[in-house]
Symmetry: C2
Subunit: 444 residues, 2 copies
């Protein structure tokens, strides 16, 4: 019997725990799920004979040495900042570790020790990062193996509401961490196009859009992610002329969001002292010139150069941000105030289902011809526990865990899934579970 | 005999050291000027019998304990981040201290100890902060003493080139720290107008301008400073409905600067890796869409919504930023690259003189009438050592030092010059030296 310790029972663990429990009998596993909230962990284990729920408090990690010592593998689904603590404990007690999160530099710094002990730590095994790496690398390696030369790589992902439940003017609902959505893109975004580095400051990001169409689910717009350059080396594309990673939204979203950026209401760096006494309309007005004789809509239109009666203004009005409703938050930042209203309006209704869309567009040359390969994935949620996000984050973590425990993955070290040893078996099993890319290649 | 230790012999110490040496005989002072660069310190002391130049290295402060112990007062003109080290040494060795810089919270935290020892630390004794506080508070206290009630306080300062030498399309030259000019306004600026808090994000700052005219020197535009709110309590104006502090530029400057903000080239948070191989034109193009068929001027005009043949574009072209001239900086941030070119073009010519302009506009009520008081100061530099900036920063520091050593200033503690005990004698002596505000009050 192998013992798996899963730390954290949040949103993204539903499908992971389900996968692990489904395989517990056949693989002879025992699953221990630890969370601060015992009820939550118990609910996910759901009385399964091979499952166990425990209280786990990362801030009191030393009390759980025995739990870690007894485990054969540790999966950290805790908030990303805690992974380093788990990693240190795993290193100390010689346990392999799996996470869905970005490989933090502090963890990567442990590589020599991890290798010396013959351990395996796997990171970036969710959807983005995770499935995006695996599916991209399978295509890239395939093109290279034919002798092809990559000249352009574009990859984009969106977490959205499924089309059937897409019924608000923004064509957007929160299906994941709202705070990340509100703060997305702050700073300067960078990518490379035709061998030229390109930089887009936050105040221009939501007006520098690409478009795409994905069969069956329709049109999308794409804005660039903060850093499209960092995976060039990881992907073995150090000299690729064009590389852009992006985020997908429904058409029209970004132009309207840009009004918030221009107003300044996505700022999280200072507190609006009297927010507790303000209405949303007063909040918006505090970013506009003082003139009580001009309606707030007119001020916004003039200030951000949008039409007073256009679609963008309709989106903003629909949110209720221009109404004299109390905010009810004390000493909140602009971003926190905006997030509160967005959560009210962009929350999922009980029947709503979410959707993950991902697309890679690669251009490559072979024998003086240029080809384009488009590969896309659409995953829809089953319900509000088994969301598309939970499925696509949790399932590859579960599969990787199985492959690690059964000896399919053997190379010691700290890895992200960009090698065939990792991506092939994981992608194959995801396909069996219906998480399947559709790929088309044509000559340009 | 009293010994004064001046630390730092940079730009702003010329007038300070001149003031101190001028008074050395009559006041029976000995002046020790310490700097890393002994030549620089010697040049400023200029062989004066009561002056002495020494090598001083703040990073090696423990070697200078004797120098501090021997002093009766220490003036720190070092970069602001070092004041705390000087303050700690002054506290330890029971020495009063004077600086021209913003009172850092770490220094203010020493208040109880400074008071317990009966010491006096004076901060914000330059021009802005410094003369602005003193001249504002004299007017504010005068209005209050009449029974008047302040309803609006606006204050702005500009460091500019004197009109006679103002001969470039920007009507601007660097007369102080170029880096501060390039990074000015980043974040969100906040002030209060008609009892409403107002917030302006960086991307809108340079389009939210006020205007003013100062007799004899002409028209100016004003953009708001980062935090106009923090001096409300210091000035005793906690409930004032309108308070805005700002920076003055010549008309047209801000609209053109805003193009740099919109492009993103004032960003100091990331490095352009290949800057050493780029030209200024390529640098600008890296913030614009890839399209070799469109001239960079056309791209800028379309992207930032300015006229292709207008005054703004002329200002940008005049700088040479659109030319294929190598940058010659390795791994530089956008802000560093921009600064390099601006220093070439906005540097003072050998004969150029600078100018400080300051204006306070106060509105106040008395016996059901509303009055406006405008108070303005214009100081022009004498030459490139005794610049207006050096005169207005160094002279009040020198005067405060004299007042402290002769016992006129007696209240122990850490102060900024907002009390009559400080501002009256300093402003009076500044007036005798020709640094004089012109004040007008009219009924509104």
């Amino acid at each position: 019997m192998k013992k798996i310790l899963v730390l954290g029972a949040g949103l993204s663990t539903t499908s992971l725990v389900a996968y692990l429990l489904d395989h517990a009998d056949s693989e002879n596993w025992k699953i221990t799920l630890g969370d601060l909230n015992l009820d939550l962990a118990q609910k996910k284990v759901n009385g399964h004979p091979m499952g166990e729920a425990i209280v786990f408090d990362i801030c009191n990690l030393t009390s759980y040495v025995k739990v870690i010592q007894e485990a054969d593998l540790v999966i950290s689904m805790l908030p990303a900042r805690f992974h380093i603590l788990v990693a240190e404990a795993c290193l100390e007690h010689n346990k392999p570790m799996v996470t869905a999160s970005y490989e933090a530099p502090e963890i990567k710094n442990m590589e020599a020790e991890v290798q010396a002990k013959g351990l395996i730590f796997l990171n970036e095994l969710g959807v983005d990062p995770g499935i995006d790496h695996m599916s991209s690398m399978r295509i890239i390696d395939d093109i290279k193996s034919k002798g092809g030369k990559l000249i352009s790589f574009k990859s984009r992902t969106g977490g959205l509401v499924a089309p059937q439940y897409d019924n608000n003017p923004w064509n957007y609902k929160f299906t994941w961490n709202p705070r990340n959505v509100v703060l997305a893109g702050q700073g300067t975004s960078m990518f490379i196009r035709n061998n030229r580095y390109k930089y887009i400051p936050y105040q221009k990001l939501f007006s520098r859009l690409e478009k795409t169409h994905i069969k069956g689910v329709g049109d999308f717009e794409i804005y660039p992610n903060r850093d499209s350059l960092k995976y060039r080396d990881t992907y073995g594309l150090g000299d690729i002329p064009t590389m852009i990673r992006g985020t997908m939204r429904r058409p029209g979203f970004s132009q309207a969001w840009d009004v918030f950026v221009q107003l300044g209401i996505t700022d999280d760096s200072f507190v609006i002292e009297d927010s507790i006494n303000m209405t949303y309309k007063q909040f918006i007005n505090s970013f506009l010139k003082y003139d009580p004789s001009i309606p707030v809509e007119d001020k916004i239109a003039a200030y951000t150069n949008i039409e007073l009666k256009g679609e963008i203004m309709k989106k903003i009005e629909w949110l209720g941000l221009l109404e004299d409703e109390p905010i009810g938050l004390k000493e909140a930042t602009p971003a926190q105030i905006l997030q509160k209203k967005l959560e009210e309006k962009w929350g999922l209704d009980p029947e709503d289902k979410d959707m993950i869309v991902m697309e890679h567009v690669l251009e490559w040359e072979l024998q003086n011809r240029t080809y384009q390969t488009r590969s896309s994935l659409v995953v829809k949620g089953k319900n509000q526990d088994e969301t598309a996000m939970a499925i696509t984050v949790g399932t590859p973590v579960g599969i990787a865990t199985r492959l690690l425990l059964n000896g399919t993955i053997q190379t010691p070290g700290i890895h992200v899934p960009v090698k065939p040893e990792l991506y092939n078996p994981i992608l194959n099993e995801l396909e069996d579970l219906g998480i399947k890319f559709i790929e088309e290649t044509r000559k340009l």
